[in-house]
Subunit: 206 residues, 2 copies
DNA sequence: CAGAAAATTACAATGGGTGTAAAAAAGCTG
DNA sequence: CAGCTTTTTTACACCCATTGTAATTTTCTG
């Protein structure tokens, strides 16, 4: 009765993965808009309705592992070394998450991370959803931070996190959009974060 | 032939405004999701298809004046006092835009800005679209900045803008979400920007 | 006023998403 | 294993956003 991995659960996981894989492959081959949910379901050998039993919308199938990353980030914050400054901590967290993305480590199946990155960049709907996720994560991160650092209230934490992620996100997007590869984009992003860390005040007069 | 304000143009403007007004009113009364495009069109006395001739999607009708604000911001950057630091300039721009939002000054008709703010906060789709607009604006702003300040390249500018707007946006959202009124949210947002300005590095150790 | 150009319309179709109730699969109990 | 319960899947029917097309109306111009 304990630690059971019932047949049901295994089947559900398999179906879920089949849907994610089929979707990613089809999106990659024919494009996001051109692929219909019906096709994804067919490729995964389930009914269309079943797709929506697993994912609330067509987009969501692409963000299946985002929450995993978020959980990791939250844990890093909760378990930080006492004495580590907020700046250092955030830098560490962002680095780690970027590393995960880059290395595909979390990937459900094959190397879908690059495909997803490309798709998210290309499709406005997906980009919007991604940004929404980032925003949601900011609030969670801020809460975790203000729990970890007693001296900082949640709203301030939100501001700090927003600045960091804002810099990181904007830089990544801009960099990718102008044709840089993922590595370069991440490098640029780190530079932007470092800049934010040291303050934007003095930044540039004529 | 010159400077004509043709009947056609006047009519188009009137139709456009009728659509925006009808949409805002209906969204306010019955909620965004519950209102159908058909109803909006009917209220504005045009066909459904005509709605889509004016706005590419249901959401867009709510962001009708976003580009106006953006144009103003871009102009402020282009026409800055030589010698003004980037930090000061951005602070000034953000203040001004927030002021516009707060004062409803740009509003097409009645005082729809608050309604819109509430709707955007409440509806995930709208929030996503708003963030997308912010992201797009960041890239434009960055371009304007790197044209105005020769010493700063576009990617760096994107990072700086991203940090500022990221802090501002996250704070506003978090503040509103916890029930603050618009004034308080804006105040909090300004504080966050100031913090980002002075650098997040030293920020908080145990 | 006639005819060109632009805008609006009706109409039909596609596809995402939801609700419902029936059928199929899996788990449980004796 | 037989029968019963719960979960999952399915078929089906529906709503609505969005798009394309072609006909119709309105505005403009000479």
């Amino acid at each position: 009765m304990v630690g059971e991995v019932t047949l049901r659960e295994r089947k559900k996981l398999r179906t879920r993965r089949a849907l994610v894989d089929a979707a990613t492959r089809l999106f990659d081959e024919k494009g996001y808009v051109e692929t219909t949910v019906a096709e994804i379901a067919a490729a995964a050998e389930v009914s269309t309705k079943t797709f929506f039993n697993y994912f609330p919308s067509k987009e969501e199938v692409l963000f299946a592992d985002a929450e995993v990353r978020m959980r990791i980030a939250l844990r890093m914050i909760a378990e930080r070394e006492p004495g580590e400054s907020l700046g250092d901590l955030l830098l560490r967290v962002i680095d780690h998450v970027l590393g995960l993305i880059r290395s595909d480590a979390l990937d459900v199946g094959m190397s879908t991370a690059k495909v997803r990155m490309r798709l998210v960049m290309a499709e406005p709907v997906l980009q919007a959803r991604a940004q929404q996720l980032v925003m949601a994560s900011q609030i969670d991160l801020a809460r975790a931070i203000s729990r970890s650092y007693r001296t900082i209230d949640e709203l301030t934490a939100v501001g700090v996190v927003g600045a960091f992620l804002g810099a990181a996100q904007a830089t990544v997007v801009a960099s990718l959009r102008r044709g840089d590869n993922v590595e370069d984009a991440i490098t640029a992003s780190r530079a932007a974060i470092a800049a934010a860390l040291h303050g934007l005040a003095g930044a540039v007069t004529d």
